[in-house]
Symmetry: D2
Amino acid sequence: MDYQQLIEEVYREVQAENLKGKVADYIPEIATVDPNQFGIALVDLKGNLYGVGDYLTPFSIQSISKVHTLTMVFHRFNSKLWSRVNVEPSGNPFNSIAQLEYENGIPRNPFINAGALVITDALCSKFENPLEQISAFINEIAGCDCVRINQAVMNSEKNNAARNTALAYFLKSYNNFENSIEEVLDVYFSHCAMEMSCVELAKTFSFLANDGYSIYANREILSESHARRVNALMLTCGFYDEAGEFAYKVGLPGKSGVGGGVAAVMPHKFSIAVWSPELNEKGNSVKSIRALELLTDKLAFSLF
Amino acid sequence: MDYQQLIEEVYREVQAENLKGKVADYIPEIATVDPNQFGIALVDLKGNLYGVGDYLTPFSIQSISKVHTLTMVFHRFNSKLWSRVNVEPSGNPFNSIAQLEYENGIPRNPFINAGALVITDALCSKFENPLEQISAFINEIAGCDCVRINQAVMNSEKNNAARNTALAYFLKSYNNFENSIEEVLDVYFSHCAMEMSCVELAKTFSFLANDGYSIYANREILSESHARRVNALMLTCGFYDEAGEFAYKVGLPGKSGVGGGVAAVMPHKFSIAVWSPELNEKGNSVKSIRALELLTDKLAFSLF
Amino acid sequence: MDYQQLIEEVYREVQAENLKGKVADYIPEIATVDPNQFGIALVDLKGNLYGVGDYLTPFSIQSISKVHTLTMVFHRFNSKLWSRVNVEPSGNPFNSIAQLEYENGIPRNPFINAGALVITDALCSKFENPLEQISAFINEIAGCDCVRINQAVMNSEKNNAARNTALAYFLKSYNNFENSIEEVLDVYFSHCAMEMSCVELAKTFSFLANDGYSIYANREILSESHARRVNALMLTCGFYDEAGEFAYKVGLPGKSGVGGGVAAVMPHKFSIAVWSPELNEKGNSVKSIRALELLTDKLAFSLF
Amino acid sequence: MDYQQLIEEVYREVQAENLKGKVADYIPEIATVDPNQFGIALVDLKGNLYGVGDYLTPFSIQSISKVHTLTMVFHRFNSKLWSRVNVEPSGNPFNSIAQLEYENGIPRNPFINAGALVITDALCSKFENPLEQISAFINEIAGCDCVRINQAVMNSEKNNAARNTALAYFLKSYNNFENSIEEVLDVYFSHCAMEMSCVELAKTFSFLANDGYSIYANREILSESHARRVNALMLTCGFYDEAGEFAYKVGLPGKSGVGGGVAAVMPHKFSIAVWSPELNEKGNSVKSIRALELLTDKLAFSLF
């Protein structure tokens, strides 16, 4: 399989379809990004890189960082964290609070906002300088000192924090929050405000295609069994209320962010990152999702 | 890999754990089944059969039959049926009606009761004798004349049909029902009341592990792309409100029934059916799920 | 207080405001009624009648009949019926099924559809010919042989019965239904299809303004304490999801119907019926509600 | 009517029934109150006072203060506040956040917590020293310098504020909050932590029985029409998710608090306050509610 040819073909076909969406507008720093950008980067298990379009341009990874933070505390997942966050698809928008009430303060999964806040809270319990640790971790698995936090985006999110702050206090009212809410939200908004290019992002997902072992960090990041479980979680819960449709059409474990990025893995083959800012009404990138659909069609394989 | 040795090991270990659950009690015919029965059958892509325990004993396949009926109308799925039933996990019990109201009469997926009723309704629109067609189809892909409808179970379900009848009328109130409600429910209860042994059931799922081609029917049942999509649907929606946990722990596409059966596939490797009547509180067989979890652990592979 | 002058004043002012709404369109027989009709009838405790506009024209009383049927089984309310239907405002549309699921098949109150079906079911358990009994009862308290069932409306409702049938089966699935669903729905649609003029309707509510005693039937219909409780129920639950607003603006116990009628009582003073077919988006008559608001303003008294 | 004899009779009968409930335990300062206390005070429109039991002992009025704060901004209600808070019964627990999400940040009514926070927020916008103004207002309508804030209760509530803080941030996320959340919560917890005896509390509700005119303040507190509307709101929404039952059994406008107090009015007759700390599962005082039920039975009149 010639991956470079493949992603170029996919790139051209998606561009030709002239798909339209809407750039996320809740913070000015993301709203003003050029909507026409579109990039794809693929990394195979030997570290060969393939890229097309704007695959070297950094963008805000937003919720995709929830996979990184989950990974950092995953070893705790099989014991203590289990009781604090569930692993079921939510069937609701990512920032819904109603379901959290019906289920007594236990978020449905670690990728909806409430669940990700619990994960970041667990990181704040574990590390003295959680943000430094997160950056160091992501740089390590990306194999470069490339990750940076966009402070303007971070400040902007902080100034629009009412909904997430409500979720945090609500979790606290169910005793499902350990640290200062302000501290945790700072860390949360910071890791969501990280910027990376497609190629860097694809590298950070490489270990998930490789049974947990990162060829960039030269170490086992997760045990094989844990890596599989993170993939399972991404497949069932990685695309908010559109997870079923992504599994149905694309069939790869992946995670999207409102910055327009999507990272995904084909286990035992490659990891891939696609980016284009315009979103559909569920908050997932129109072109990125279409690109992954075409790619699995052309490869004639998916998980299934 | 010696599959026979593998499933025998799994069988012994599960038996040793002495897990307890509760046999479904809503109809007498199922409630009186011997709760200690437990069988496993595995079929590889060449047709080699492996079995252990009560793998030759027929049991009520119940909701597992929803995979068979979905398959029969799946080619319509990409056009007309799409607008009648969704492909998202529900995040709610299998017989919930509340979500159906919030989402204006479009069931979340074809495996919750409301969605399965829409599928059976579509079958009734397509065939003059839908029940005969369903039986013929299942016999064909099982490679034998083995399927039979347990009339006592069927009648019992009909006499406890209030909830499903409410779902059907509710669908009709949203114009999402084409045929006579009584007729469709008759067909629905009949296919849920079908009996098969583990080995027969595993054979009927073989085409889903084989890119859509059945070695028993000697024909393509679904296109490769459609077979993958049915698998994706089973993975995200096959276990009611426990789908995420099954994907997380087991990582195989599968479908459970309240009779205690579970059928699953490892794409490009094998199909498998496990049966034991005692259920957990979500309605899935305690031993069957544990067996599949152990099996994927031992095989050290799953989808991911 | 000159009631005739009062209601004429109210009538003129409402007409001058030129309020617009939308005639109920779910059945042809109601949809084709002349939308400009508007009538008011008031009956004091001595039986003096006051009327203006189309107060002698019969119209479909629809849900207002739920007050009559509730009255007929109210003596059972303090014992057996209590466990089958609640007395709380619903906070949901009148035909919602979601809340019924969350509250395990016990309708929130006897005026939402699910609750009214339980009441009609109780009537069917009590009487051999429930419909005859209902007609006889309403004629008795109206003091005339005036009530008739519009068979075309009744048939039309029966042909659009999916939603209510779903509610009935759903109640049955919680063992909260005693009789044949078809029989109960027949009685239900029949009493909703009754026609009366404003003046006849106002007379049927007279006993509720008179501590339970009907001057037309010359007997106590309800004990004083029970009459008070029916009034309390109308105040908190008589206008679907607009009950709070009606209590807030008008302050009288009353009941509306999708035919555009509203019947209300000023305890110890009078009963009143207003009718105009155009409805607001909550399903209550625009002009009828405005008329009652003006009337209580002018009278400078309400319950409070 | 000899009110003194009446309330003594009621007092004795309730005591004889030996009703049991559970003192609110979410804050230590309220949890340690003597659960056997029970007092009734009634004030007629001429200012005659009647009392029995612990009617002179101060207790924490808690949510009853929401009637006082609502009154202070009620003149704004018919214009700006209308769009910020609704007047419908909620059909949900007092601190539910789910409904607030379904209804886009507009609380159902001013007596559930979310609605009361909007009212306190409006007070903070109106006054420089809102807390002083609230105290001064309540003292004025009580006709004495008697109201005091229990600082220990207030601090305790502040330390258990996660749920209410979540509600406030959630309102803010819908732009339905004007001031600093910390400031508004401070005022909110302070007015909830006010202490009064039954007789003082009954006096503060006197104007609501008197068409808006306070004989203690010697002025019109609310216009007649506004006083009626506050009463209507109390009747439909004053007892959380038990409002219907209170209207049904008692038939008076009133408001309860988790301290065990209930204040109510019989328009044009009297105001009354009852207090006993043990609560039913809906959070309303067992003895207080029973006392008011007996009282209206004996008086043989209610609103209706």
